[in-house]
């Protein structure tokens, strides 16, 4: 009986959390769509999320592209299909690895930072102070972060795609002996617009998830320094898991119908 009660409590708690996240998302979206928008804060957040994430996302994309080229070459040589390396690298990077790895790296960097910043503002009463100064915290803190992350992640992923494909090109031409012109021709000939577009749509969704989880956990943190730490961890974990789930759903929508 106790076990059943425990499962019931967990399930009700889960539903309660889903409801809270749903309400938070709805409120945040309504503030994203109604003026005034704090353009200065949106710009600063875009710089923080996009520009300052470039080194870590660029390095991740570069080495992923290089490893992908090596692995595909080794695998495809088993059935004499080495020529497919360039094609598979570009499809793999643009459709999946670019957006997902960039999303996960940014989730680790940005979700944590947002949760820590808003969590600290919560426990030091800065969010309450905003309200007493006739400023809606959703409008001032949450909406700019959501807009910035949703807009800037596709740009970041476009750069990551380019760097990743370039990583495959370096390995393909310098180590595996492909002709440079042939490699580029194979890359461009077999790449379709949908490959890139689906990746960028995923990136926008991942950006929204990253900001939403960072803001939700930070905004609702409680219990001092320990609470802020917990919010930070929860933001990164939930953003990462939701990115993987959203990746599956978007892939389903784009490619299996």
């Amino acid at each position: 009986m106790n076990f059943v009660a425990m499962v019931g409590r967990l399930f009700l708690g889960f539903l309660g959390t889903l409801g809270q996240i749903g309400t938070f998302t709805g409120t945040a979206l309504s503030h994203c769509m109604t003026p005034p928008l704090y353009c200065g804060i949106i710009g600063r957040q875009m710089l923080n999320i996009g520009y300052f994430s470039l080194p870590v996302v660029g390095m991740t994309a570069l080495f992923t592209g290089m490893v992908l080229a090596l692995q595909i070459y080794i695998g495809s040589s088993r059935f004499d299909a080495e020529v497919a390396v360039a094609t598979i690298v570009v499809i793999g990077i643009t459709r999946e690895l670019g957006p997902v790895l960039a999303g996960l790296m940014v989730a680790g960097r940005v979700s944590a930072s947002m949760a820590a910043e808003l969590g600290t503002m919560r426990v030091t009463e800065q969010i309450d102070a905003l309200t007493t100064l006739s400023t809606n915290p959703f409008k001032y803190l949450v909406a700019p972060r959501l807009i910035a992350a949703t807009v800037v992640l596709p740009l970041l992923v476009a750069v990551a795609d380019t760097i990743g494909v370039f990583g495959g090109y370096i390995i393909g031409t310098e180590k595996l002996g492909f002709n440079s012109a042939t490699y580029i021709k194979n890359t461009l000939d077999f790449m379709e617009p949908i490959d890139v577009i689906s990746g960028l749509v995923k990136a926008a969704a991942f950006g929204f998830i990253i900001a939403l989880m960072g803001c939700y956990h930070g905004y609702n943190s409680q219990g001092g320094a320990q609470g802020v730490g917990r919010a930070t961890t929860n933001a990164v974990v939930s953003a990462s898991v939701l990115i993987l789930i959203a990746n599956f759903i978007i892939t389903e929508l784009f490619f299996t119908r």
Partner: protein, 268 residues
């Protein structure tokens, strides 16, 4: 001594703040229990009471940061409980608040913290807002050079003074002070008390403060109210508090461990 419920016998004019039957609980813990309190226009009321007696919850309920289960909150005779959107914003514009820890925005320089409410109203340019902010900083004894600093570079006393400058910058009709002297040395505490008295007088605001610092309460209050068990159990003028005839008030103002207020301590 005045009445038990908080001065409702003072029939006119309309109270600036009127709380009736305010109740708030967190799970099984009842924090406010049918609390009544009136604050008249231009008056400075200080609510004293121990930690966890509901002082901060009362202030946050008035500001709409917490939602009470029942009761009435009237500002200038207008019911504000349940107000949303622009109606709520309009009421909030009447308020200024000095938070216990300052609650200054880390990401902004001091002058922008002070000018935040002015800039949020959209009625003033950044250049003019900065001039007003520096003027407010001067009124709390801080020079213009402080305006360019980050809040993290300020001492506790300076942060309180900046918080006070921010609270009065929009010339609010009502100012709340949440433990204004907590964490300060006695001299700086007295400086803050003097500034509060002066600023409230200059702005012509109604003030509601919460504290457990009796020196501060005696200095800034016209009337003092004591909260215990979620209710206002006594209210009277500063002169009356030493002869309140209320054992709870006597124990609190003399800081005695023995008396009707019992702390939940595990005995060794």
């Amino acid at each position: 001594m005045t009445d038990h419920a908080g001065g409702p016998e003072r029939m006119s004019p309309t109270p600036k703040i009127s709380l009736r039957g305010l109740s708030k609980r967190f799970g099984p813990k009842v924090v406010l229990d049918n609390l009544d309190l009136d604050v008249m226009p231009g008056e400075s009321v200080v609510v004293i009471g121990g930690s966890g007696t509901g002082k901060s919850v009362m202030l946050k309920s008035i500001l709409g940061l917490l939602k009470p289960e029942s009761g009435s909150i009237k500002i200038d005779g207008q019911e504000v409980l349940g107000l949303r959107g622009s109606d709520r914003d309009e009421v909030l514009r009447k308020f200024g608040m000095l938070f216990q820890g300052g609650a200054l925005f880390d990401s902004l320089p001091v002058w922008e913290n002070v000018a935040f409410g002015l800039l949020a109203s959209g009625d003033i340019s950044r250049k003019d807002a900065k001039v007003v902010a520096l003027e407010n900083l001067r009124s709390v004894g801080l020079g213009p050079e402080v305006g360019e600093l980050s809040p993290a570079e300020l001492s506790g006393g300076m942060q309180k003074r900046v918080g006070l400058a921010r609270a009065i910058a929009t010339r609010p009709e009502i100012i709340f002070f949440d433990e204004p002297t907590t964490g300060l040395d006695p001299i700086m505490g007295d400086v803050i008390n003097d500034l509060i008295v002066e600023c409230v007088k200059t702005v012509g605001a109604t003030a509601l403060s919460i504290t457990h610092d009796m020196a501060s309460a005696r200095k800034i209050a016209d009337r003092i109210a004591m909260i215990f068990g979620g209710k206002i159990i006594w209210i009277g003028t500063v002169d009356e508090i030493d002869n309140s005839g209320n054992p709870y008030v006597d124990q609190f103002i003399h800081g005695r461990a023995e008396g009707p207020i019992q702390m939940d301590l595990l005995k060794p």
